[in-house]
Amino acid sequence: MRGIYNFFNSVGLFLNLFWQTLCSLKFFSVSIDKIFSQLFDMGNRTLPVAALISLSIGAVLALQTGIQLSEYGIQDRIGGIVGVSLCTELAPVMAAILMAGRVGSSITAEISTMSVYEEISALKTMDIDPIRYLVLPRFVACLITLPFLVIYMDLIGWLGGSFVSNLNQSISVSFSAFYNDLSQVVTFSDIASGLIKSVFFAITISITSCLVGLTTNGGPREIGTSVTKSVVASFISILILDYILTRFLILVGLL
């Protein structure tokens, strides 16, 4: 019973913070500096790791699928399979998990530290809204970063897939054949569906991380607990949301 109450309480708090953040969007123009600072920080944290992950996923996907396809002599279809898998599912989900792990955890650590050391209260005493000052820049930056990260991971993943397809003796598909098939199979709606997912994931990660940070109280020990809580909640939300969004995108004909 307590668990059900906590779940609905958390959902309520999430929706409330999301709504208040949307309302604070009218201060977007005065928060530009903070948004750019967050964008720079998020880019720095995610781009190198994202490149490594997507290169590896593209390569492994091409290797595993390519060898199977070559047994039936249809290895020239590898470009389309790697292309669609990456942009509709693997890149958005992996980018979101990376974002939750690298950026979400850092947001929660920073804001929960501020809560524990009364910095949030200090903002309130100066009549500075913590949502406008802290949540809005992180929310907007996350909303911009994640779709870009998905496109970036799509491109690097395709690159990794094409290299393995070309260099592996069992597959041996040329770059032009790989990208020719990819361009024929991957449609705009495949890329759009990945981007739509990434927008929902960005909202989930940024609001969850900020919410857990803002509701942290107690001593310094709570900071670590909050970071773990935020990352786990984000991971679970991403996976559940991924299924719901995939169902929805199939229903509306985007997938």
């Binding site: 050391y117 200090a122 100066m126 500075i128």
Partner: protein, 236 residues
């Protein structure tokens, strides 16, 4: 303008534990009022209720006989708060912490904001540390920076929560002098909660002793000294 403060039947409980029980007390304007009491007696809660950081279960606060919200709205009442552990934003330099309020409210030009901040920092002998990060400051310097940040708001009422916590004798003396200088220079009502008895007697115009959520003893320092209260034993 001087602002008198009146707590009227304020009650506050936390998870069933009563901290303030129908608390009523008045503080005269333009003076330094010290509230003494043991830890956990609700001293900080009194300040946080006035600051708006905690909502009381019932009761109200009147400022010059007007409700707190009305005073803020009509008289542009400004209340400022010096936190026990300073609560400076560690992501900003000292000068950015000091100008934060004016920057965020976009009050005045950047040049004037900095000029004003440096003047306050200079008065508090902190101008040489303006570009440092709060984590690079000593406890006493952090406390002075927190006072500087509060003064940038030009408050009518200034609240101090344990301003000498974790400070040595020298820094305690510096904070006491800042409070006394402020009393001479500006018509601010200053409310200080502390359990440092010598410090309280050094700065106070009035001293009130908070026990079990109520103030039963209150008066000028010399009157309070005469009372044989167990809390005051260390100075007897």
């Amino acid at each position: 303008m001087n602002k008198s403060i009146e707590y009227k039947n304020i009650s506050k409980s936390f998870e069933g534990k009563v901290v303030l029980d129908n608390f009523s007390h008045s503080f005269e304007s333009g003076k330094v009022h010290v509230i003494l009491g043991k830890s956990g007696m609700g001293k900080s809660v009194l300040l946080k209720v006035l600051m708006g950081l905690i909502t009381p279960d019932n009761g109200e606060i009147l400022i010059n006989n007007k409700s707190l919200d009305l005073a803020k709205e009509i008289d542009s009442l400004k209340v400022s708060y010096v936190f026990q552990f300073s609560a400076l934003l560690n992501s900003l330099s000292v000068i950015d912490n000091i100008t934060l309020y004016l920057d965020e409210k976009n009050i005045d030009t950047k040049e004037n904001r900095l000029k004003k901040a440096y003047k306050i920092l200079s008065d508090l002998d902190l101008d040489h540390s303006a570009t440092k990060n709060p984590s690079e400051l000593s406890g006493g310097m952090r406390k002075r920076a927190a006072i500087a940040r509060s003064l940038m708001i030009e408050p009518d009422i200034l609240l101090y929560d344990e301003p000498t916590a974790e400070l040595d004798q020298i820094n305690t003396g510096i904070i006491a002098n800042i409070i006394l200088d402020l009393k001479k220079a500006k018509p601010i009502t200053q409310l200080v909660v502390t359990h440092d008895i010598s410090f309280a007697f050094a700065i106070a115009d009035t001293i009130s002793i908070l026990e079990d959520g109520l103030i039963n003893i209150s008066g000028k320092p010399e009157e309070i000294k005469e009372i044989n209260h167990p809390l005051l034993k260390p100075i007897a």
